[in-house]
Symmetry: D2
C-alpha cells in the first residue's frame, strides 16, 4: 500500500489547526483526499458523538468523496481535574468525545473499508492511555477505554483487512495552543506535528505482513 493506485479518502476526526493541519498536508501530499471533521473550526462542523448525524454524514461522504482508505481519530478531550471536583457531566463529556465518537466512526467506516479490501484506523492516545495519574480520573479512564476499544477492533476485524492502531502520544505536540496551555514547557522537548503526521502516514503504509497495533511516540529524552 505504499502508493495509491486509485483515489482514496482519509477522514481526520477531531481536526485542529496544529496537528490536524500537519496530517492533512502529509496525507494530501501522498495523494489522499482529506476529509476534515471537528465540532468547531475547519472542515465539516459535526457533533461526532451524535449517532444520527454521523450516520447521515457518512452517506454524504459516499456520494461526494473517493472511497475511504481509513480514519484518524484525534479527538483530544483533555481534562486535568482533581477527582473530587470532577463532575459527572465532565466524566461523561470526556468519555463521549473520546470513545463514543471513535465507536460511531468505526462502525460506519469498517463495512466501507472491508468492501474495499481493508483500511486503516488510527486512534490517538496519550501517556494516560496506559498509566492513570493523579488528576486524570476522567481523562485516563476515557483513554484506557479508547485503547481497549482499538484492541477489540483489531482482534475482531484484523483478518478482514482492518488495521486498527493505537498511537500512544507520550509527550506534548508543539503548537501555539500547547505553548499557551503549558507555559514554560521546552519546545525542544516537544513532538513536532509534521514528524508525527509522517509516522501516521507510515502506519497507513504498513504492508499487511507487518502491522503494528500499538505505537508509542515520545520526543528524544522524554521521561517515561
Amino acid at each position: 500500500m505504499s502508493s495509491l493506485t486509485s483515489p482514496r479518502s482519509v477522514l481526520i476526526a477531531g481536526y485542529s489547526a496544529g496537528f490536524g493541519a500537519a496530517l492533512a498536508r502529509h496525507f494530501e501530499a501522498a495523494g489522499y483526499t482529506v476529509i476534515k471533521a471537528s465540532r468547531s473550526g475547519d472542515g465539516e462542523q459535526l457533533d461526532l458523538t451524535d449517532e444520527t448525524a454521523v450516520h447521515q454524514w457518512f452517506s454524504c461522504l459516499d456520494r461526494d468523496y473517493p472511497p475511504l482508505a481509513g480514519v484518524i481519530h484525534n479527538v483530544m478531550a483533555f481534562l486535568r481535574e482533581p477527582l473530587l471536583s470532577t463532575t459527572a457531566a465532565q466524566l461523561e463529556s470526556v468519555w463521549r468525545a473520546s470513545v463514543m465518537s471513535a465507536f460511531l466512526l468505526t462502525r460506519e467506516a469498517v463495512p466501507r473499508l472491508e468492501s474495499q479490501g481493508g483500511g486503516t484506523l488510527i486512534y490517538s492516545g496519550a501517556s494516560g492511555s496506559r498509566r492513570a495519574g493523579p488528576g486524570f480520573a476522567a481523562f485516563s479512564s476515557a483513554k484506557f477505554a479508547l485503547r481497549g476499544f482499538a484492541q477489540a477492533v483489531a482482534r475482531e476485524h484484523g483478518a478482514r483487512g482492518i488495521h486498527a492502531v493505537s498511537v500512544i502520544i507520550d509527550g506534548l505536540i508543539a503548537s501555539d495552543k500547547t505553548a499557551a496551555r503549558f507555559p514554560g514547557s521546552d519546545p525542544q522537548r516537544m513532538i513536532n506535528p509534521d514528524d508525527l503526521a509522517a509516522q501516521y502516514l507510515e502506519l497507513f503504509r504498513q504492508p499487511a505482513s507487518v502491522w503494528t497495533q500499538e505505537l508509542d511516540i515520545r520526543p528524544m529524552g522524554g521521561s517515561f
Copy 2:
C-alpha cells in the same frame, strides 16, 4: 486493620444473589455492617448511575449506618456482541453501569473515608480489563476505563489513606446464573464465590505498609 475496633459499614454495589451474597456473608462474619445496592433485587434498589440519587442515598447512609469502611464495586454489565451490531445505546449503557456508577460511588465515599482515616475501594474487573478480544468492544472498553479509573484514584488519594484496588477476575464465578449463561462450562474450573469473597476481605485487611493495587484471580489451571 485486621480487626474492627468500632462498628463500620461496607457498601456492596451491584449486589447479586451469587457473589454478592457471599461477600455479604464474609464481611458480616468479620463484623461489618453490610449495605447492599443494586438496580433490582435484594438491598437498596437504586440507579447507581443517577448522580442525584446516589448523592441523596449517601446522606441517608450517614444517618442510618455506622461509618463507611469501604465500597465494593461489583456491577458487571457483561456484553458480548459483534462490533457492527453493537448499538450506541449499548456502548453507553455498559459504560454507564461500569464507570459512571464507580465514579459516583467513589466521589461520595472518598471524603467520608478520609474523614475516618482512610478506607478500601475495590473495583471488580475481568479478563477483559487488560485484553480486549473480539466481541468485546463495548465491554472491554468499559472495563479498561474502570481499571484506569481505579489507578487514578489510587495515585491521587493513596497518601490520604484510600486503598483503591482493581481485582481482575479472570474466570467465571460459579453460580446458577453462570451455569445457565455458559452451559457446558466445567464447575471445577470456576471461581468459588466464597473463596473470592475471602480474597476481597483480605484486601480490606491489608495493612497500610503492604497495599495491592491490582489483584488477578483465576482458578487453578485456568488459561491466561
Copy 3:
C-alpha cells in the same frame, strides 16, 4: 489449604535476617517446617546457582524434612550501576543469582510438589520487574527475566497444581540494612517485613479456585 493437616516444609531461598526471618516466623507459626538457604548467613549455606549442589541438597531435604509445600525465592541481587560501567561479570552474576537459582529450585521442587498434589512457588520481584529505569540495565533485565520465568511456570504447571506467583515488591522493606543503604528514606513509607510475610502466607493459603499470578505490593501513598 487454609490449615495444615499433615507436616509440610517450606523452603526460603535467599534467607536474610530481615524479611527472611519474618517469613520464617510467620510460616512456623502457621505450622510449616521452615528450611532456610542462603549463600552465607543463617540456614544452609549453599550456592543456589550450582546445579549439582542444589540437586544433591534436595535429596537431603527428602530424607530430613517433611514433604515440601512450596518454595519462596527471595534472592535479591540488587545492583544500581550506570550501563557503561556495568561489567559482563556483574550482568551475569545478577542474572545467575536471580534467575538461575530460581530455575534450579523450581526444577527440583515441581516434581516433588506435584507428587503431593501441588504446591506454591513465590518469586520475589521488585518495581524493576515491570519498569526498567536508568541505572538498572543489569538488575531490571534479571527481574524481567524472573517475572517471565514465573509466568511460564504458572502456565505450564498450573493445571497440575503448581501455583507460581510473582510478588512485585514496589518499595523498600524496612530493615537495618535498608536504613544503611538508603539513608534518608522515611521508615513510615517502607514495607513492614512482618506485614509482607503475612501476605506471602496468604498466597500459600489461596484456595485453588482463586489463584493470583502476580501481586503488587507497596506502602500506602507510595508513588508508582
Copy 4:
C-alpha cells in the same frame, strides 16, 4: 535523519540468510555500510557473548568502517522445551545469546554513537517478550530480560541521543528455515522479511521528536 549526509555503518548482529539478508539489502540501498556478524555463516564469525572478542572487534570496526549509525540485535536463540527437561546449560545458553550479546554490543556501541551525536539500537523481541507461555521458561525469560534491558538503555541514554527500541515480532518470519521448523504454517500468515526490514529502517529514520520505544509487529489477522 531521513537521509545520510556522510557515510555511516550499521551493524547487524545475528546475521542470517533470511531476515538478516533482507536487512542488509534495505540498509545498503539506503546508503549504509552494513557490517554483519554471526556465530557461523556470512559476515564476521564471532562469538558475540565473548567480552574480549567483542571489544577487540569494535576496535577493528573503528579502523575499517565508517562511523556507526546503529546496531540491530537479531540473535534469536529460540527454544521450546518443557520446563522439567530444560537443562541449566540451555537456560544459560539462551540467556547468553540473547542478553549477554546485547549487553556487550550496547556497551561498545553507545559511547561511539554518542560521540557522533546519537544513533539507533534495535533489539528484536518476540511474542514471548511480553507473555511467557508453556514450554518457554528459558526462551521467554531471556526475551523478557532483553526487553527490560532495552528499556533501561532507552531511559538511561535517551537524552544523549541513543534511540533504543524493542521490536516485538509477534509472528513467524517467512523463510526456508521457518518452513522447515514449523511445517504446515501458512506462508500467507507470515511476516515478509523485506517488509520487516523496511520497518527497521523506518525506526532508524524516526526524527528525534517522535521516537518509538517498543514496536509490535504481526501479520494481518494474526492472533494476539
